[in-house]
Every structure is written in C-alpha cells, then in structure tokens.
C-alpha cells in the first residue's frame, strides 16, 4: 500500500483542523480503518513515525480503531461479520455481495491543545 502518502494526507487534514481550532499541538489522532479499506494498520503506524517529525503532531499518539466488515445476506436478509475474504453467510451459506460496513478510512478525532 501507499500508507506513507495516506498518512501525509491524514496529517494535513489534522493540522488544518488543529489550526482551525487555534491549537498549537496535536496530542492524539484517532483513525477508523475498515478491514476492506485496503489499508494496513501496522503500515500506517510505521508511516506515522516518519511523517509526524517536525510537525505539530511530533509528540502525538496514533490510535487506530479497526472496523470489521459487516455484510448483508441477500437471501436471508441477515447481517453478519465474515471470517475471511470470502463473505459467506453463516446462516444460509450463500455468498454476499453487499458490504454494509468496513470500507472506511477516516480521521475520527483529535486531541489538541
């Protein structure tokens, strides 16, 4: 993945928000990363170590909330969380095409001063 450039974009959003709020330091960034976002949380953590240097987030902590995939079965209309990349409904064994949650990649919150 391209986690370094994603982390740069994340930090740019965070810094713009912090400046909007008149803050001079970012103490914590919380991200929400869906399992089907195509992004690896550990790679984001690694990238953060690099991109935070010499910014107002230099001392910040990165928290990543990983969001599991939730599918909806078209056959039995149940929601379920698949065990792997094959989205097989545990109730009726059919494969789902409908992903309800788990694709997000977002900056959830910031702690500022």
């Amino acid at each position: 993945m391209h986690e370094v450039s994603l982390m740069e974009q994340t930090l740019a959003i965070a810094i713009a928000q912090a400046e909007d709020h008149g803050a001079s330091q970012i103490h914590r960034l919380t991200l929400r990363v869906g399992q089907q976002s195509g992004v690896v949380a550990d790679a984001l953590r690694f990238a953060f170590e690099v991109v935070r240097q010499n910014t107002m987030a230099a001392e910040a902590r990165l928290e990543i909330e990983e969001i599991p995939v939730t599918c909806r079965c078209q056959h039995c209309h149940e929601n379920f969380q698949p065990e792997d990349w094959i989205y097989r409904c545990p109730h009726c064994d059919q494969i789902s095409q409908t992903v309800m949650d788990g694709k997000q990649l977002e900056l959830a919150s910031l702690e500022l001063s």
């Binding site: 993945m1 391209h2 740019a12 959003i13 810094i15 789902s96 959830a108």
Partner: protein, 285 residues
C-alpha cells in the same frame, strides 16, 4: 508503505505552526456546513458539549469524521459527472505489471476504433512507451508519468482529460499504474473498474488481492492462448473468483488470438446502450 513499488514520498506535508500563547479556544467558526465538521468548542470548562471531551485541563478532544481520501473522492465524482455529460463509457484498467493491459487495450482499439472512437490515459512510473504503442494502434493516448507514485489519482485524470478532445470519442480507457494494491483505494471517476489477471499469475491471485478483486465490476482473465502451456486450472480460478468477487462479470480473453473478446465487446455495447441510448437522456436514466 507500498511493498510493490516503493512509493514513499516523504516530507511534502504542507503544514505551518500556529502558536497561541493564551491557550484560549473560545472562538467560533460558522462556515462549516458539513455534518462531518460539526462540533462545538466554546468555553469547554463551562459547558462541555457532547462531542468535546476534556482530557486534561489544557487539552480538548474533537470529533472530525473526515474521510482521508475525501478530496480524491470529490474530484472523482466531478470527473464522473463530466464524463457522463460527454456521453462516455470510462474504464479503469487495474492489474499487476505484465498482466497484459496495454496489449489488450491495443487490441480493443484496433477492433473497435471505427465504431467506438477511444482515447486512453496511461499511467506509468516512467517512460511513455505504452502511450506510443497505443498511438501506433490508432488510439488517442496521453501518458501520465507518476514519478514515484504507485497509482493514478482523480486529479491526474482530470488534468490529462483536459488535453483530450472528449467530444469526438465515446470510450475513455484509463490504464492505471501496474500494481494490484495501491490503485484500489483511488476512485478516478470511472464507470467500470476492470481488473485483469493473466493465466501466468496463478489461480489464487484473487485470494491474495481480495480488496482489489472485490472492487471490480469486470474481471478479465487474460493470455488464454497460453493457458494450457502454464497448466492453468480454469475451474479452480473461476471458483476463487466467484467466491471473492461475486459482484463481477468475468470474461476469459486473449488479446493475441481474440478469444473471448466478442463477449466482452458485447457487454460494453450493452452498457453503452443502456446508459446512452439516443432516446434516453442519461441524466434521467
């Protein structure tokens, strides 16, 4: 960080420091119109709002809820609307390096150019070899060299499209950078995401790159002409594809022999008919 292509541009974050000696956050800004940017941060010591949690006396926690790719997503939507207004079918071709994207596009242009004038935007880290190949095949081709960026973004496509005469084509093919990981998260404003995998890559490719295959509307299994030579187990590949990418239309094709291309072309013709029938205003369809 990208393990495939080493994209790791560092140090381009635009930032500036903004020091506040008084530490006073009592200000308001009423210009936020998006729900994602809806929070309150007045004098938090007196009336903490639901979304502002005071952690330490001098710190505040603020809900943001902004998509990290929201800028790209907005530009992609703008591209999509623009392309739709021009009556185009836009495809985004994704695959590993060497799966046969350029060869297939060359063949498509050669076969269809008469009825479906086509332009191609080609993304590569370096060289314009692919654009030259496609021009030789009769396509209008523009090369985007991304330097060390491992994928195309909506803005690059918008800029490249400005150099094309979109009024005289009805198909736009975007050949993404050869990479089966990074381009997945970037919407370019395409109508169809077409993922290619060649018979030489192994039947389990869809299991190894599930996010990419799950994002495809169409999957083309390429180089069918050498399937027997590499002992390609078509049945196993199909089983894997149907399990990982049940949403996708799948075609087995060969750019060299033309095998399977007729069904693929019929699918494209059908798509164009459905979306841009002369009797139907696409905006109302």
């Amino acid at each position: 960080m990208c393990q495939n292509c080493g994209c790791s541009a560092v140090g381009t974050v635009a930032h500036s420091h903004h020091h506040h000696g008084d530490g006073n956050f009592a200000h308001s800004h009423d210009d936020h119109d998006q729900q994602e940017h809806h929070h309150h941060h007045g004098n938090y010591s007196k009336s903490p709002s639901q979304q502002t949690v005071t952690i330490e006396p001098d710190r505040q926690s603020i809900a943001i809820g902004q998509g990290i790719l929201s800028k790209n997503d907005r530009l992609a939507e703008r591209n999509r609307g623009y392309f739709q207004a021009k009556g185009l079918l836009v495809m985004n071709f994704l695959s590993s390096p060497g799966a046969g994207k350029t060869a297939l596009i060359e063949k498509m242009v050669g076969d269809r150019q008469k009825d479906h004038p086509t332009a191609v935007i080609v993304g590569d880290l370096a060289t314009d070899n692919d654009a030259q190949r496609l021009r030789s095949a009769g396509a209008i081709a523009i090369q985007v060299t991304t330097g060390n960026i491992c994928h195309l973004e909506a803005e690059m496509v918008a800029k490249a499209a400005q150099k094309l005469d979109l009024d005289n084509i009805d198909q736009l093919i975007i050949e993404n950078v050869g990479n089966l990981v990074c381009p997945t998260t970037y919407d370019l404003g395409e109508d169809l995401r077409v993922v290619l995998f060649s018979v030489t890559e192994g039947e389990d490719k869809p299991l190894k790159y599930p996010a990419t295959f799950k994002s495809a509307q169409v999957i083309l299994v390429t180089k069918q002409d050498i399937a027997a030579a590499v002992d390609f187990d078509a049945e196993l590949a199909w089983q894997n594809l149907r399990q990982v990418a049940p949403q996708a239309q799948i075609f087995a094709v060969s750019a060299r022999t033309g095998k399977g291309l007729q069904s693929w072309y019929e699918y494209l013709d059908q798509w164009q008919l459905q979306h841009y029938s002369p009797l139907v205003d696409p905006a109302l369809a």
